[in-house]
Symmetry: C2
Subunit: 314 residues, 2 copies
């Protein structure tokens, strides 16, 4: 029978690039640059809660890391190190090979070292802690939005939740759109390149993991401000607009786009770094002093909406 | 229904002592002291694999952190920050209250800040990443044992595995011994105080989590040396000696004692720091050049033994 040591040796012990001591001792050892701070985030993914049972293990490996990279990007930091703990029912070599391939494809693309973790028998659960660096005091906090800031978002919203709804048979999409949306769900592309530049130009940032409204809610609550969102400026598929299924764009989870606020004077800087990093950005609203989120349509009419995003216990 | 935000707010959002930004943003922010390195370790605990279903949640909270503290102690480092991710079937407030109380009892005793994590619905799985600091280059590695080093161990070996065997009805202990052994299993005391002093006097160190022989095996393999262990010098309960059930002391898991090697000239220093930190230490053998582990009895006779410790997939 395969031991946990063999699993780690075979699938997870890759050469590190910026680590003093990687996998193989009681702990890993890393060094933080002078005048830099360490940014740390953890996430847990559970089968049938965060991903469907049949999810391709390679895509799951990618996504497990990508969603954590998104958290570090939303701080404006550069992710560098990650630990990965997996419990799985049996040491399935094919599953492990595919999972680790997807994981390392993402790790190599974004320059992250796997430095430790754990493997154990149990239900399929993946737990990741990611660490990044940022120059002292430069992190983009949820609490730093200012009144009159533009509200920006990267990419398109709602695609991942449409992908999930489509796989569950709840909506019917054209085959090309379904493929696009399932890809958004299963192989999200964290906005890492834009993130590291944003700390110079944005006031606050969060990644959209639980839905636009819920995540914007964290910014306005922590910053003690409000927000007005222009519905027709939210970047989303025509399917959402024509079918009026705006809940995908407003409340859909798993998008992993960056939602950030920045002073009006930085518009051209932001458009420039977006272009340089090949990242779609859209201005979708403004920060107000009203302590709530308002959504208005193209005629300026206030719309009512359901504030609920995704919550794992609600 | 309770949301994950409420769970975190109610049970896990405690004031931090040495953290720039704790729970509540996309990531936490910490600062490492100048000329110090960061030491990082992760562990995953699964119900019915690492702990019994009926385990008291307060003890489980303590143990979840304690076993991770042990990893940092075995590097000779000082643990300071921890992230905690939990998946649990339902948001059971009583369970969460007790678990968090045990967790924070341990965190406060050893000066560790909880800085992040995740809570989600799922099977009961606890995943922890712990971070500590150590002066540059001072970590105690598995690969640094030297020929003729003394082999030392803290505390007693075998108690935790006897506790488990007793709970499972596999052995019968007197009630006081059973209580002692179950306590060793469920509320292990990581050797944090000794650990931070060891880096000055020891060459290599590991914590005994998978059994003495298996963990000593990591040291001799990584250090390219061998070891001779004197059976009668292994600190363990008389029950093990009289019943000749030495497998508890040699292969039993979950002890979380420190196993370290140090030059003979440091014996008095080690005994002094052990006394100062109120930690039992015993010399149980010597590092040899023979590339294997030998166990000898009081007459110098070589004993055969089963090399297997605890492995979650074997």
């Amino acid at each position: 029978m395969t031991s946990e040591f063999e699993i780690i040796q075979r699938h997870f012990n890759k050469k590190t690039k910026h680590t003093i001591l990687g996998i193989g001792d009681d702990a890993a050892i890393i060094k933080i640059q002078k005048n830099y701070e360490l940014v740390v985030s953890s996430d847990m993914l559970v089968e049938n809660i965060h991903f469907l049972k049949k999810t391709d293990p390679s895509r799951l490996g990618w996504k497990s890391l990508a969603v954590n990279l998104s958290d570090i990007a939303s701080m404006g930091a550069k992710a560098k190190w990650v630990t990965l703990s997996i419990s799985l029912p049996k040491p399935d070599q094919i599953w492990l090979k595919k999972f680790s391939q997807g994981f390392f494809r993402c790790a190599e693309k974004f320059g992250v070292d796997l430095i430790g973790g754990d493997t154990t028998k149990g239900p399929l659960v993946i737990s990741i802690t990611i660490m990044g660096e940022i120059a002292k005091g430069q992190s983009l906090l949820r609490s730093a939005a200012k009144i009159n800031d533009d509200i920006w978002v990267t990419g398109q919203l709602g695609n991942a939740s449409m992908g999930l709804a489509s796989l569950q048979g709840k909506i019917k999409l054209t085959p090309p759109l379904k493929m696009k949306c399932v890809k958004a769900l299963e192989i999200p592309m964290p906005k890492v390149l834009l993130g590291v530049h944003l700390s110079k130009f944005a006031h606050s940032c969060i990644d959209v993991s639980d839905g636009l409204i819920q995540d914007l809610g964290h910014i306005i609550k922590n910053s003690k401000v409000g927000a007005t969102i222009f519905l027709n400026q939210i970047p989303c598929e025509d399917f959402i607009k024509t079918s009026k299924k705006y809940h995908f764009a407003l409340n859909g989870g798993d998008d992993y786009e960056l939602l950030f606020t920045a002073p009006v004077k930085n518009r051209t800087h932001i458009e420039k770094i977006a272009k340089e990093t090949n990242t779609q950005v859209n201005r979708i609203g403004i920060i107000s002093n009203q302590r709530s989120i308002k959504i208005v349509n193209e005629n300026g009419k206030l719309l009512s909406f359901n504030v609920k995003g995704f919550d794992h216990f609600a």
